[in-house]
């Protein structure tokens, strides 16, 4: 098959996407496919029309590639593509939509409030902040609604920090989430579709090497975080985390594969859904490949399966 690998693009996660793309290309070549790498830009439609791929492997992360934009184009051009369709991508990329969907489906997610920049500028939403602070208690996690990586995520430890954290988060998106901080263990459950429906992979835990719980960036830096898979959290919590991940996957309407991030609260032992990533990283340090390998699915087989699902979706 001729497979176009869509990677790069203009998002802030361009570098990660290039690494994911390169690794996918290697695997596709080993699988005997004809690989056409495309660094996504203004000529994407022309390139796709010229290349006429049998399937497009979307290895894009962040806004533009993971938020349904590219998927919409691929639908229009009639090119089969990997992973979720536009609507699931939109829901995953927007943490506000995702969290509302979780709540509506009765799935646990940390209590939150979401605002647009307009709400602050035109509706005086800033006046409501003290009430929010009272309800969520400190520290409060402040996140841009639509940024896939750790960029822009801040911890407000006191009331004085909240405005600055909001300004930071609004650097990335016009919508922000203020969320109750769940102190606990940081888990990720990847889901891949299979013949018998979606299947949850072993749980990965991100363990910071230093005790800097407030430094989100540390979790994404090689050497500052250790990933253990399967996570040593006991059979019950493992089963519950996998069940929640599958429920989140279904609720958001994901297809092909996705990664769901959760917190296991120290004090209560409760699990909470944080977010879902429609196109999680596929680099050699990424969690989905790590989990797949732990489940006995080597990277090449994972890629073969993902491509197979994309083709099957069209022919079905």
């Amino acid at each position: 098959m001729r497979v176009a690998v869509l990677k790069g693009g203009r998002s802030l996660e361009r570098q990660v996407s290039l690494r994911s793309g390169a690794r996918v290309e290697d695997a596709l070549q080993r699988l005997g496919h004809e690989v056409v790498p495309i660094d996504v830009g203004a000529d994407l439609v022309d390139r796709l029309r010229a290349v006429r791929p049998d399937v497009a492997f979307v290895a894009l992360h962040g806004p533009g590639g993971e938020d349904g934009t590219v998927q919409e184009l691929l639908e229009l051009l009639g090119v089969p593509y990997t992973a979720s369709g536009p609507s699931a991508c939109i829901r995953c990329m927007d943490k506000v939509l995702a969290k509302h969907a979780f709540q509506d489906a009765g799935l646990p997610t940390p209590e939150f409030y979401a605002f647009s920049q307009t709400a602050f500028e035109e509706l005086g939403a800033g006046r409501a902040l003290p009430a929010i602070e009272e309800r969520l208690d400190f520290p409060i996690v402040v996140k841009p609604a639509g940024q896939g990586s750790a960029l822009g995520i801040k911890f407000a430890r006191r009331a004085e920090d909240v405005a600055g954290a909001l300004v930071a988060a609004l650097s990335y998106d016009t919508k922000v989430v203020l969320e109750r901080y769940v102190a606990g263990r940081d888990l990720a459950v990847s889901v891949i579709d299979g013949p018998g429906g979606p299947e949850a992979l072993p749980v990965v835990e991100a363990v910071p090497n230093e005790e800097d719980f407030y430094d989100f960036e540390a979790r994404y830096e090689i050497g500052r975080t250790t990933f253990t898979c399967p996570a040593d959290i006991g059979a019950d919590a493992t089963a519950r985390a996998q069940e929640l991940a599958l429920a989140a996957y279904a609720t958001l309407g994901c297809a092909g594969f996705a990664r769901v991030d959760l917190m296991l609260e120290d004090t209560t032992g409760e699990l909470y859904l944080l977010e879902a990533n429609a196109i999680p990283g596929l680099t050699d340090t990424s969690l989905l490949p790590l989990a797949a390998e732990a489940a006995g699915v080597p990277f090449d087989e994972l890629i073969a399966r993902i491509v197979g699902l994309a083709v099957a979706r069209v022919t079905a």
Partner: protein, 446 residues
């Protein structure tokens, strides 16, 4: 065997497989979200005030062609051959002339030609630093030195600056504190003139003071002086090397800013025993710096007046500095402050502490403009509200437009913050309140 027959091993254990082989040193090296962010600044549509680039377009192409042709005719075999590790004598003569222009006398035996000034920082660390050794640097320090210090696992103590450069009183207090812990820094790293990134210059009295401290305490100073000859206003000051008489100062110079960074040629002048070690370190690193580049430099100095081109650069950069200072006064809100450098390539701006310049960069990139977030110049997480702006590598129109765009996003965040907190933004530059924790580096324009 072809690649098809031997599929490369793959899998999530790839990193794990190699990670076990990495040294402690490389494990300390980090890739970060900020690095990914900076990678985006290279997009062509972006006006990048983030670089530290000289404007090489001003070097006459005909001269370059003629000089390279001369190298080919006169010294083809030598230019294509290995050279001595310490560098060609002809080049050291050129270096002596450049140093003389800043009032330094140097014997060519005291010189080591290096692959850019950056190599001197690496070689000095290689020579002096064991893991955990203390290095003293300025706060903020040259962002390019940070990964070098990290890779040698130095414990870096950063000393704050004001508009007269590193505060020697703070330095003394810090040295005494270290003393009490039984620790002695191996060297003090400083960019005394038109500092990268802060743009400030170490005052004359402090230069003497710093040299005196080094002598008394028998500490080495690494004087990084790439921009000394790029002075646009004010009177030249003696280098630490000149004041010290080459006792405790290792001097770092470079052709990058007075001629071309593409040549990758810099140098060290150091006390002989230190120089010998640097030389051995360099032998291991790269045997010798490019002989082709060295032949070019020697020919250039023989056939052209190097000061003429330097004069062209000084005129060009002075105008660009002035344009940037004007643009900053016009577009940045009164809450912002910045330095007014007398030379070099950089202006350092400080925003209200509720603005995080790493996040601001993400916003600025959507306006197609980039700068270096302040954290890149600290090893201890400080600098979150600061930024480095380069004025040498960008044309005047782009400087104006770039600063206008930065001003737009900064004002937007100031307004948003005041909406959120109910505080009024400062009304005008003159009436700006003085944030009490922003005393150092303060110099208000306009």
């Amino acid at each position: 065997m072809s690649r098809d027959e031997t599929p490369r091993r793959s899998g999530a254990r790839d990193l794990e497989r190699y990670a076990g082989l990495f040294s402690q040193r490389t494990q300390a090296m980090k890739s970060s979200a900020m690095r990914d962010l900076m990678a985006v600044t290279a997009r062509p549509e972006i006006i990048s005030l983030a670089g530290g680039l000289p404007d090489t377009s001003t070097f006459p192409a005909e001269d370059f062609a003629a000089l390279m042709a001369r190298v080919a005719v006169d010294a083809s075999a030598r230019a294509l051959q290995y050279g001595p590790t310490e560098g060609l004598d002809e080049v050291k003569e050129c270096i002596a002339r450049v140093m003389a222009a800043e009032g330094m006398e140097v014997e060519i035996e005291d010189l080591l030609v290096t692959t850019g000034g950056q190599q001197v920082i690496d070689l000095v660390c290689k020579t002096l630093i064991d893991p955990g050794d203390v290095v003293v640097a300025e706060a903020p320090t040259y962002p390019g030195a940070v990964p070098v210090f990290v890779s040698y696992q130095a414990d870096v103590v950063q000393i704050e600056m004001d508009e007269h450069g590193m505060r020697t009183d703070v330095l003394v207090a810090e040295l005494e504190r270290l003393d009490r812990d039984g620790r002695v820094p191996k060297f003090i790293y400083t960019v005394p003139s038109f500092q990268n990134p802060a743009g400030v210059t170490l005052a004359l009295e402090r230069r003497h003071e710093l040299v005196r401290i080094a002598n008394e305490r028998e500490l080495l100073i690494l004087e990084d002086n790439p921009y000394g000859l790029l002075r646009y206003s004010g009177e030249p000051l003696p280098t630490l090397y000149a004041i010290d008489g080459a006792e405790y100062v290792i001097y770092l110079g470079t052709f990058s800013k007075i001629l071309s960074p593409g040549l990758r040629l810099g140098w060290a002048a150091a006390p002989r025993p230190v120089l010998d070690k640097l030389n051995l370190g360099k032998g291991g690193a790269d045997l010798c710096s490019s002989t082709l580049s060295q032949q070019f430099v020697a020919t250039y100095f023989a056939e052209r007046d190097w000061r003429t081109y330097l004069g062209t650069l000084v005129e060009l950069y002075r105008k660009r500095r002035d344009v940037m200072l004007e643009a900053l006064a016009e577009h940045l809100p009164p809450e912002a402050t910045w330095t007014e450098p007398d030379g070099g390539l950089f202006i350092w701006a400080r925003l209200p502490d509720y603005i995080d310049t790493t996040d601001l960069l993400a916003r600025a990139l959507r306006e197609n403009v980039a700068f270096v977030p302040g954290r890149a110049a600290y090893l201890d997480g400080r600098g979150g509200s600061e930024m480095r702006l380069n004025f040498s590598g960008v044309g005047e129109d782009d400087i104006r437009e770039g600063v206008r765009r930065i001003g737009k996003v900064v004002r937007e965040q100031v307004a948003l913050y005041s909406t959120l907190t109910g505080q009024q933004p400062a009304a005008a530059r003159e009436a700006a309140p003085e944030p009490e924790n922003v005393v150092e580096l303060r110099r208000r324009a306009g």
